[in-house]
Symmetry: C2
Subunit: 120 residues, 2 copies
C-alpha cells in the first residue's frame, strides 16, 4: 500500500466502504448515521472511515460532539485517469492487432508480429 492509487483501490474493495461512499453522495453524515444501517459496531465503521480518509476519499470536520463526514469525490479522478489511460492503450493494441491479423489474412504479409517484449 505504498501510493495513493493503492489506497483508493483498496478502500473501495470493501463493500461496506463502497456503500458508505454511495450514501455520502447524498450529502454529509455523522459516524452514527453511517453506522446505523449495518450490523457492526460504531467502532468498526469508524475504522472504515479512517481507511477512506487515508485514501483521501472523505474528510472529517467537527460540529460539537459530531464528526460530519464529507465525500471528496475528486479522488475518483485518480482512478478514472489510470483506468482510461490503460483501457485506451489496450484498445489501441487490439485495434492494431486486428489490423495486423487482417493484413496477414489478406496479403499474407511476410513480416512477423513485432513481439517487442515489455521494457526490461
Amino acid at each position: 500500500m505504498t501510493d495513493a492509487l493503492c489506497r483508493v483501490f483498496a478502500a473501495l474493495s470493501d463493500p461496506t466502504r463502497r456503500d458508505i461512499v454511495v450514501r455520502l453522495t447524498d450529502g454529509d453524515a455523522t459516524v452514527g448515521d453511517l453506522a446505523a444501517p449495518y450490523a457492526v459496531s460504531v467502532q468498526a465503521v469508524s475504522k472504515h472511515l479512517k481507511v477512506l480518509e487515508e485514501a483521501g476519499l472523505v474528510t472529517r470536520s467537527r460540529d460539537a460532539q459530531r464528526r460530519p463526514v464529507h465525500l471528496e469525490a475528486g479522488v475518483f479522478d485518480l482512478m478514472t485517469v489510470w483506468i482510461e489511460r490503460y483501457r485506451r492503450r489496450a484498445e489501441e493494441r487490439y485495434g492494431r492487432l486486428d489490423g495486423v491479423l487482417a493484413q496477414l489474412n489478406d496479403e499474407q504479409t511476410e513480416s512477423e508480429a513485432p513481439q517487442e517484449e515489455t521494457a526490461s
Copy 2:
C-alpha cells in the same frame, strides 16, 4: 469479497498486479515474462495472475508448455460505470449546494460560477 466489483478493486489495489495489467496492455505475455522484472518467485506472480483471473481481468490459454496471459480490458467498464455513476451524483449534489450558497451569498448570481474544484 463477495461480488465482482470487490474482486476488481481488490485486484488492482496491489501495485504488482497493477503493473502486470499495465504491461499486458502491450500484448499477451507468458508467466515467466511477466515474472522476470520482479524480485519475487514465479509462483508469487502465478498467484497474482490467479487473483487477476478471478477478477475477470485476465484470461489464460495454452500454447505448448506456455500459458499466455491475456488482458480482458472490458472489465474496466465495471469500475468506470460505478465510479462515474456516483461521481455524477456527488457533483449534482455539490452543484446544488454551490448554487444555494451562491444564492445566499449573492442574490444576483447571473454570471457563470467558476466551478473550481478547490478540494479544500
